[in-house]
Structures are given as C-alpha cells and as structure tokens.
C-alpha cells in the first residue's frame, strides 16, 4: 500500500494560471445525475457488503428503485425548466434494464459517462484484466446505447484499485470525477495519456447531504446557493467549477424537488455562468490549461 496516492502534485489555489471559461463566464456549472441500478442479490466482494441489511434488503433496494420509477422523471423536468443539461454518471447496465431513461437523455443531448456496470459491483480486489474488462464494457455499452464516445469516469460506488485511473486514461477517457481536492480542474498523473480531474463535489452531493449529513430539503437548497455565490465571486479572478451531483432516488422525492429546482433556477439566473457538461469542461481544460497547470505544480517529495 502507498502513503500518497501519487495522482497529483501540489498547486496552491491562489497561484495558478488564470482560467477563462467560454463567454467570459466565472463558473463552469454542471449537474451530474447518478442514474444507478443496485442489484437485489449481487455477488459478494470481500471488501464491501452491498447492503446494510441481510439480502433481500427490501427497504434499501426499493428506496433506490424509486429513483428510476419516479424520481428521475421529476428531476429531468426540473432541469428542463432551468435549461440545464445533465452529465449522467451511469451504471451502464441501466442501458439494458431501463432503456426509456437512456432515450430521454439522448433526446436532450445529455452526456453519458461511466459509473461502472452496477452500483453493487465494486472494483476493490479486481485484477488488471478484470478491471479492463469492466471499463471496456462501459465504453462498448455507452457507444451502443447512445453513439457517444465514453469520456468521463466516476468509479462505481467510489471503489478502486491502485491502477483504476491509469487504466481509464489508457483506454481513452479524458476526465475523472473521483478526486475531491480542488475547485478547479487539475491534471491527473497517470502512466499513459492526459487525464483531467473535474471537480464533482461530495459536499454538494445529495447523497452526502441527505444520507450522511441528514439535512432538510430547504437547507440543501440553501447550501447550494451559498456554494454558488462564493464560487461565482471567486470566479472573477480565475474560472471555477461547480458541480451538483444528484441521485434521483433522493432529490426526486416530492418534498425535495421543489427546493432543489429553486436553487437551480437561482444559479441559472446569473449571466456569467457556463452551463456545461463534464466532457465540455474537460475538453476546455485539456486544450488550454492542462500543460500550464502541470508545469506550475510543485512535485511532492515523500519524507
């Protein structure tokens, strides 16, 4: 095991090349709905149990299924009303289980990126060949279902091996959402290729807000607005990124969706906001700032 993930050098927030977003925007804003499928009886991974309760965990399984049956559709309409495209963090098996959802994403020009195959199949302990097969499955499935090239990655249930990010870069992906160390994009040090880390945020994530921090729906809307206000102000000096990662099984409940939509409308009501997808932000960073950021960063020496 390593003491340091070895994935990035040190680059202080206030001494960086200035990022300019298209149209003079201060904030690149993106919304990343996690469209997931959790299996009722998944096979066991020795490092993580799939369910809190013994199988069949009816309560937790059905709570997640709610997202696909009911929550997704309300979330989608709220985003439509605000003119926000989604960058879908997709368990790719949803392409087979619920093609109706994929059809709606395609119709809207939403990006599909990979969140693994199922949210109940973890990368922990996989061999390199197994991990490659799983990533290839995502590339092939997203291509087949949508015609899109797979560019983005968020590991299923945030499970990894030491080589996960090396492999996704090697296999042609351009960005990852797995690192939470910054409010701007950053180069990721991988074996081969150029890979960008795009800020995704656990703090703004509804699963953290609702399942871990146990906030109320109106408070969730309030923290989204506060987060935006600060990043918008700081973005005057150098462009920032704000992401709202969502889970339709949480945000799509009747008592939560209205407050969320109000927060979304608050953000899109500002003129210097770039309503982007993950892929677009990564492309802009890779083309214009990746090299300068890599050069400006300080290598970290272990002690």
């Amino acid at each position: 095991m390593k003491r340091d993930p070895g994935l990035y050098d040190y680059l202080p927030y206030h001494r960086r090349p200035k990022i300019e977003w298209p149209g003079g925007a201060r904030v690149a804003f993106w919304v990343a709905p996690n469209v997931e499928f959790y299996e009722l009886e998944p096979p066991k991974n020795p490092s993580r149990a799939a369910w809190a309760r013994p199988v069949p965990d009816v309560l937790n399984y059905s709570a997640r299924d709610y997202g696909n049956r009911a929550g997704f559709w309300r979330m989608m309409e709220a985003m439509d009303r605000c003119g926000v495209r989604g960058s879908v963090s997709l368990n790719v098996a949803v392409c087979e289980h619920h093609p109706e959802i994929i059809a709606e994403c395609k119709k809207r020009g939403w990006e599909l990126y990979s969140h693994g195959t199922y949210n109940t199949r973890y990368l922990f302990n996989m061999s390199e060949e197994q991990e490659r097969a799983l990533i290839q499955d995502s590339i092939d499935t997203i291509r087949r279902a949508s015609g899109q090239k797979l560019d983005g990655w968020l590991a299923p249930a945030l499970t990894y091996t030491e080589r996960t990010l090396d492999l996704v870069a090697e296999m042609g992906l351009t960005y990852i959402c797995d690192l939470f160390h910054d409010d701007q994009p950053a180069p990721v040090k991988v074996r081969k290729g150029r890979l960008a880390s795009i800020p995704y945020s656990l703090e703004m994530n509804d699963v953290i807000a609702y399942n871990i921090n146990l906030v109320s729906p109106r408070h969730y809307a309030a923290i989204i607005k506060r987060q935006f206000d600060r990043l918008y102000a700081e973005g005057e000096e150098s462009g920032t990124v704000m992401c709202i990662p969502l889970h339709p099984y949480l945000v799509g409940h009747p008592y939560r969706i209205q407050a969320f939509e109000e927060a979304l409308a608050y953000i899109t009501g500002n003129d210097k906001v770039w309503l982007a997808t993950g892929r677009e932000i990564a492309r802009h960073f890779l083309d214009n700032y990746y090299d300068a950021f890599a050069k400006a960063a300080h290598p970290v020496r272990d002690f």
Binding site: E41, P56, L59, R64, A70, H97, A259
Partner: protein, 313 residues
Amino acid sequence: MRSRRQRIPFVISDDYLEYPRRRYGMDHERYAWSILPRREKVTWPGGARIALWVIPALEWFPLDMKGQPFKPPGALQTAYPDLRHYTLRDYGNRVGIFRVMKALERHGIRASAAVNAAVAARYPALLSELVSRNWEIIAHGLDMDHLHYEGMADEQALISKTLALLPKVRGWLSPAKSESHRTLDLLAEAGIEYVCDWVNDDMPFRMQILYSMPHSSDIDDYAILVNNHHDEDEYRDQLVDQFEFLYREAETQGGRIMAISLHPWVIGQPYRIGALEAALAHIMARRGVWPATGAEILDAWKAQRAAQGAASA
C-alpha cells in the same frame, strides 16, 4: 511511486463480471418495471386530487429484545434492562396515540393503524379504541423483535401466530420492512392482499403476488425528527412541501397519494403534536383531498385499473 510491499490480495473470481440478470426490466420477478408518469391517470372518489393516507404504527419493543438479524429503527439500546427506551416507546401506546387520534378526528380523518400483534394482545383496550373509530388495522408483525429474514425459523408459523392475534386484516407492514425471499408468498397464502414494505413508488402497483401500497419511509416522523434531528417546524414544512408538490403533480398526472407514517411515541409528544396538526390543517384546507384508509385507496385504484384493462401497474 509504486509500492514494493504488496498486501496479500483477495481474489475476485471471473464470474463477478457475469450478469445473468442484466436484461430489460428488473433483476427479479417480484414486480414489473414501470414508469410513474407514464401510467394511465387515476381519479379518486369525488374527483379528489390527493388521497390522504395516515399510518400510525403501534409498536412493542420487548425488554429482552435480541435485535436479530439487525436492530430495527427505535430498538432498545442499553444493557438489560433498558427501561428508558422500553417505556418511551410504550408511551406511544398509552398517551401519544390519543393525541394523534384527536388531531385526526378534528378533520374527520380515519387512519390505517399498523399494529404489532403483541400490542393487540397486550392492550385489548387500545385495539377497541381503533376498532370503534372504524380505523383500518394493518398487521405490523408480531412485535419489533420478530423480523422476517432468510434462514429464520418457521416464518409461516410466525405469520399465522401474528394474524391470529389481530382482527381480520387486508394489509401487512413487516417490522422494519423486513422480508425473506418467501415472505410475500406466505403472506398471500395467509390471505393478505397488500404489503407496505416497498418504497419504490408513490402509487399502488401490482406485484407478481399481492399489491404494493406506498407506505413512506421518508415522510415519517421517526426519520425526520429522530434520525435526521430536524425540528418540529422543519417536519411540518416537509409534510407541506410533499403535499404541495403532489397536489400540483396530480393536476397533470392524475390522483396521487400523500402517505404520512407516524410513530405515536415520537409525534405524540406534547411539544411535537402541534407540528402534525399544523400540517393537517394546511392539507385539509385544500379542495380535493380525500382522507381514506389504505384498503379504501387500494379498492378505488383497483376498480380503475380494472376499468382501464391494465394487466399491471
């Protein structure tokens, strides 16, 4: 910086990457995949937009509880004898439920009480109060220390014993929404018509056997006030927000159900009951709200599904 020392790895067998149930629809046979906003509209009696379904749970947590195979929400916590949690839960049966009754009666709302069979057996006076108000009784298992799970001893006998202690019921809510793979089959064999354990929908739906009713684990006093530590005003706001959204949605998508799950030991406290009363006053001030029991809502829904010729939800 690659490590020199490798820990001994666990091995993942290659069948971890095989997906025999990767196919259209669900990964099991219990119910069919169905998209809520794409179903035929339902109209409630009197043209109501919202069926208001209130479900107080009457629970008994035995003093010697084992918590197998897991502790249910509200379980006793200290070393034996845990008098503090035992008695606070029992407060709901002695005091809290009567505050809830009063709050509901003000608006002519009849509830569906989810009753542990142990409560019916131990407190027949409480059972009479429910029956005399013409409330629906839903079976809520034997008690809060008899969960349903794979490998449990004689589930059929547990269900029989539970139902024998209760008046005739149509609905079932497992303690902690726990089920084994056989629970639905055994309940159907025992004459149960609907279950309240699945929280994947806002409307009733046909399962392979039985019907599912949308009993909420979100609009739930224990979840909001005890688990999430929100205050009483926030609890009221969340009920109102749930109602207002469903009320608007019903305008375009047909009748919806507002399900309010209650635990009288939580909401029946003097300082909390007012929050429920305020939410109910807000809801009942609207036109087009039909307060009903679970069985009544299911009957109205089934009659329309039959008229629409739908095989499943």
